[in-house]
Symmetry: C2
Subunit: 446 residues, 2 copies
């Protein structure tokens, strides 16, 4: 294992030389704000020794060269909106904040993460972020045609470009996308934007229970041959909690769960037709009611409820585990059944919501208010372990879009194929021989 060196006054001076004195922060109080991301702070945190804010690719390269030469770990960080602890400095060292936003051009970045109001594109790429439109538009990787990346040894690579197809050599871009900042630091990206759809309609469909909603999901594509823009699932507790948080009043009498289904297209007629067909399918399959949100205001209202669920649950209970499990779409009904069993067996609330159209659910384990913290941590570990076993047995994976980071690292190393982990270690060692860049994330080296 690499023995890291501390950030000495000499190193701090060298950093000032690279990025300018005002972009080097050593003040303890300020450092504290960067010691965690959106994962629960009491479980996942780590203090950087210094924060640097480079303002160009060459500066990033110079920092990496310095760090690599002096064996100082570097953690890259975008907006810090991550949900798996990927941007938390585990071994002190340098925390390097990268600020990059997508310029507005009347088109749209179809990656569309749920955290779109706060996240940054560098973090999106590092995590290969997904979101609410993935069923139709895919996730971040589909839209990154080029990038500039700084390697752990301080080389600058320009990969891809404005070409939309390219098989000239290995697709190195894809190695960096989703590598959680462990293989390189992305400093610039060429993003393919899509024309804004000319028409869209949202359906909010109420179901009597969880299973009936979930069972409709695979039918939409397989029976109707329609690929919606979004198929979001929310169970009753998720809807209630978010509505309370937003002071919003959706009708959900008798409702056990909801699907929020969006279709978009080139004409309103086409979109209305598809929405109607989907609505009919839902009504033939136990739906209680289908509400149509065909104007911007109503659409924003229902989407706000969906987008704010995680935030609402955090307010309701800061002690929780926000999961990101993903299974083959046909297995969602079986998954939901198993989650209900786990919830009953361990007597904890496990609301589920998320991207049902992708088989990706944000099941959340909520600490019962009266339970002592140490007991909760043990229980959480037990339930998560059981949940992951269920997910793997159904052909699923631990994370659909949030990443492994530190939150899921131990479980991942236990449950994933050891040959797969061995291969990742081989790649990490080849590209980052001193294990300088974001060490201790995704998997351990030794």
């Amino acid at each position: 294992m690499t023995k890291y060196n501390p950030v000495t006054p000499q190193i701090a001076d060298a950093l000032r030389q690279i990025v300018g004195a005002s972009n080097v922060i050593l003040d303890e109080e300020k450092l504290e704000a960067y010691s965690h991301d959106e994962t629960p702070k009491d479980q996942f945190s780590g203090m950087p020794e210094v924060i640097v804010t480079p303002t160009g690719t060459q500066q990033v390269a110079d920092i990496m060269k310095l760090a690599n030469a002096h064996l100082i770990p570097v953690t890259p960080r975008g907006a810090g909106s991550g949900l798996s602890g990927g941007a938390i400095p585990l071994h002190g060292g340098i925390l390097m904040t990268i600020n990059a936003i997508v310029a507005d051009a009347g088109l749209f970045f179809a990656g569309y993460p749920m955290s779109l109001e706060s996240c940054q594109i560098g973090g999106n790429i590092a995590e290969n972020a997904g979101g609410g439109k993935a069923i139709k538009y895919g996730v971040t990787d589909r839209y990154i045609t080029g990038m500039e990346v700084v390697t752990p040894t301080g080389d600058i690579l320009k990969l891809g470009g404005k070409v939309v197809k390219d098989v000239s050599g290995y697709d190195l871009k894809r190695l960096y996308i989703g590598s959680e900042g462990t293989l390189g630091v992305v400093t610039s990206a060429t993003i393919k934007l899509m024309p804004l759809p000319k028409a869209k309609t949202d359906l909010l469909v109420l179901f009597p229970d969880v299973q009936s909603a979930i069972e409709v999901v695979p039918m939409i594509v397989s029976k109707l041959g329609i690929v919606p823009t979004s198929v979001e699932f929310m169970d009753r507790l998720s809807v209630e909690t978010s509505c309370k948080y937003l002071n919003e009043h959706l009708t959900y009498e008798n409702c056990g769960s909801m699907l929020l289904i969006e279709v978009d297209g080139t004409t309103q007629d086409q979109v209305d037709g598809e929405a109607e067909t989907i609505g009919d399918l839902c009504m033939e399959n136990k739906a209680i009611e289908v509400y149509v949100a065909d104007n911007y205001t109503t659409q924003e209202r229902v989407w706000a409820v969906r987008r704010n669920i995680a935030e609402a649950f955090k307010l309701y209970s800061p002690h929780q585990s926000l999961e990101d499990i993903v299974v083959p779409i046909a297995q969602i009904p079986a998954l939901m059944e198993e989650i209900a069993k786990l919830s009953a067996e361990f007597q904890i609330s496990m609301p589920s919501y998320g991207h049902a159209g992708d088989g990706n659910l944000h099941t959340t384990l909520i600490k019962p208010p009266e339970m002592p913290l140490d007991q909760w941590y043990r229980l959480e570990d037990q339930v998560v372990r059981r949940l992951y076993a269920v997910v793997m047995a159904l052909g699923g994976k631990l994370s659909g879009e949030h990443g492994i980071g530190i939150k899921r690292k131990d479980y991942y190393q236990e449950i994933a194929d050891p040959r797969e982990i061995a291969l990742m270690r081989l790649l990490k060692k080849a590209l980052d021989p001193n294990n300088i860049l974001n060490p201790g994330k995704v998997f351990d080296l030794d």
Copy 2:
């Protein structure tokens, strides 16, 4: 550089033990058929010492273990329909044929390569094959959700699965996709199929010259906000040659080039509306005539012309260089201008056709009938070199979908960023320490 060992009678016996005697071929005459692919045989060929046909993943793993232990190179091969020499055994050794086809399930594999009648899925994955629907549906990588891959050292990895989103660890699948059989042998794949579109219409649009057709291409997405299924370009020579080959009679009086534009969707009304809008745009931008092909027979006729261009040119002149250049879409007009200049300067015919909607053109250098072969090879090298310089200057790449293989290896190594090649070498060495698997493709190791 690895010094390889020959396939001795003992090795042949060991191979027979693994795959059965009938699946080991040593007969020289049969070997010859596997010494080339669809690149010109007189320029690109290499004899295998033995052909083996494994019938399962474990057999592939056993072959790789044997080869790795005895330092014998292995070349994997699908249908041999490749266009860059990727499946040609450069150093003798074992040629391993993998037969895998996509089962028909009423859905469609939207990768849709032009060679769909002959290619195989293993080759599609190795090359990350593109095709005629990439502008809307992307290429092979978008549809591979899982795969079984045998590493050069004989380990079997099962990556991904039936999940459509997955950020659990590095995306190792994507490292193998498009690696041209140099990093692993794909023995099985989980492919996401798409619902067949309910309606489609093709437009065959005649333009007076090359530039006017090419200038319309970027407008379709940017001005109309419509993403067609296909935007294929054919210059007059390409159309004439293919029509002659097929004994087909398309109207192309006064026509300098054609666009074949397909739109698909969920209703015929929507599709007709989009087709009409595109047709109008073309007519406002110098098109001579727009023909609508809205039934299967007519659609097949026009697509057959497009699909058979490469085959037709091969018959017309076996000595040619079929290129696969790709540039940013906005740069196609500038590219076509430069190609016209090169054609004039070197006095050779350089017809162009291909996936204009992706900026990917199969410009072909045709040997003048009277030119001696040795002179042609020198000239070809000169023109290709100039063409690639133009492409790179426009922000493009050497290959959009055919790969580097051996055909483009030397040029690629000269023109690509040396840091990028260095990184690929690092990966290749990490994953294939003895350089056993498909050595000498894409780049040289030393």
